[in-house]
């Protein structure tokens, strides 16, 4: 049933692994963010721990924007987005395919940049850290589920990147703010009882964004 979605995912991953364009660019970009913040601000370790979670998400989100733009530039290039509108396939399937590829590429980049983050901010590795996995997963999915549909909207317009930012930021910011809070709890070793309800809230937003986008994508493909 999701055959077309998987076909789209497969071709996207194939192209990404061939060029490594997105992941590499995202990785270098994030590295720069870490370097700049690490060496420009002389702050105590305590303060650093305060701002590190925010920095991590800034890196994720800015790199994620780049990944989204790449992924849809690829579809726009030879009229492939129009080809998608001509395919005998539900818009929802196309959405799922693009969502999966954007999300997987972003998760791979995050897995590659995370060790750098640990080293730069001198964080202690512990089992507690595993709690970051659902946090990053939920925050990333929230970002990509919205980002995928908004990229498809923005790709038709002249000022694609500007429009994407203007649409995406206001909608995705609650998710990012909560993800920063959750990440802060784990990194500072202070996972309070508020952790799980907040994580659940991010998850709930993910489900809402994903479901709405899935249903609406048909309308977006027509221009």
């Amino acid at each position: 049933m999701m055959r077309a979605a998987l076909a789209i995912l497969k071709k996207d991953l194939r192209m990404e692994f061939r060029s490594k364009e997105s992941i590499l660019a995202m990785w270098i970009f994030s590295l720069l963010i870490f370097v700049i913040f690490n060496f420009t601000f002389e702050v105590s370790r305590l303060v650093m721990l305060e701002i590190a979670p925010g920095l991590l998400w800034v890196a994720f989100v800015f790199s994620g924007m780049f990944g989204l733009n790449q992924s849809f530039a690829l579809e726009k290039e030879n009229g492939n987005l129009r080809a998608m509108a001509l395919m005998p396939v539900d818009g929802g399937q196309i959405y799922v395919g693009k969502f999966l590829s954007v999300t997987l590429i972003m998760l791979m980049f995050e897995a590659l940049i995370f060790p750098i983050f640990i080293i730069f901010y001198d964080l202690q590795l512990s089992l507690e850290m595993l709690k970051l996995i659902p946090v990053i997963l939920a925050g990333t999915i929230g970002f990509t589920s919205l980002g995928t549909i908004l990229s498809a909207v923005a790709v038709h317009t002249r000022n694609q990147q500007i429009l994407l930012s203007m649409l995406l930021w206001p909608l995705v910011s609650p998710i990012i703010i909560w993800s920063v809070t959750l990440t802060g709890m784990v990194v500072s070793g202070e996972v309070t009882p508020a952790f799980y309800p907040l994580l659940l809230r991010v998850g709930a937003f993910d489900v809402i964004f994903f479901t709405l986008s899935y249903m609406l994508f048909d309308f977006i493909l027509e221009d």
């Binding site: 076909a7 061939r18 005998p88 027509e222």
Partner: protein, 238 residues
């Protein structure tokens, strides 16, 4: 009477202040080969876009095989060749075709891919990235992609663009065999000679309207030429 493959009813299209089409009516029977002729900006591409469903008419309606163009059944029967290639430069010819084969749920994908690559004489370059192809090779692959799922209705918008003499001959004979298979074909071209050679019928668009709808067999090349030029008139369409 069978259901027409294509029924365009009173279609008009505006792009803001720009008028592209005015009250266009066109009915095409299954198996018919129709050439759409007209000057730059006459509205040929706009009409094909409305037929394929990628663009909505401002007024009027389109039916494919008696049903809405957006039905999956219709989309599965349709192929479009336009100035857009619908190909990924960072994939090889085979990878591009494999992708489309999956989208169109082809059972005999490997064999079909071999056949169409052979049809457009690209077999020797099938494992090269499309971004390394020349313009004409890319156009040939575009043709292969369009024929891959054995479409019942082909919409071809200047498909000869970028092809050399040999490849033009190749496409002409491909289109002839498509016609023999009973496919319905709608072609736009600026080459009256090719239109004459291939089509059963020709339609001239001028000033956003169909101004001539004629049977090709009854029209000699000279008559076609003079009819075409008198139909389009002296003024610019755009």
């Amino acid at each position: 009477m069978s259901v027409p493959a294509l029924q365009v009813d009173n279609v008009s299209k505006d792009f803001g202040r720009i008028i592209a089409l005015r009250s266009v009516n066109l009915s095409v029977n299954p198996g018919e080969f129709v050439s759409i002729l007209g000057r730059n900006g006459a509205g040929k591409t706009t009409l094909l876009n409305i037929i394929s469903g990628v663009s909505r008419p401002s007024e009027g309606s389109v039916l494919l095989f008696g049903t809405d163009p957006s039905d999956h059944d219709n989309k599965a029967k349709l192929a479009v060749i336009s100035h857009e290639m619908f190909l990924y430069g960072n994939l090889t010819a085979v990878e591009n075709l494999e992708y489309y084969a999956k989208i169109y749920e082809l059972a005999d994908a490997t064999q079909r891919i071999q056949e169409v690559l052979n049809d457009v004489e690209l077999t020797h370059r099938r494992f090269d990235l499309v971004s390394t192809y020349s313009r004409g090779m890319t156009q040939r692959l575009t043709i292969a992609r369009a024929l891959l799922h054995q479409p019942a209705l082909l919409l071809l918008d200047e498909p000869f663009t970028g092809l050399d003499q040999h490849a033009i001959g190749m496409l002409i004979s491909l289109l002839k065999s498509q016609k023999e298979l009973g496919r319905t074909i709608i072609l736009t071209t600026h080459d009256l000679h090719t239109a004459q050679e291939l089509s059963d019928r020709y339609v001239v668009i001028a000033k956003h309207r169909i101004v001539k709808d004629g049977v090709m067999a009854e029209t000699s090349p000279d008559v076609l030429r003079s009819e075409f030029f008198s139909a389009i008139g002296g003024e610019d369409d755009s």
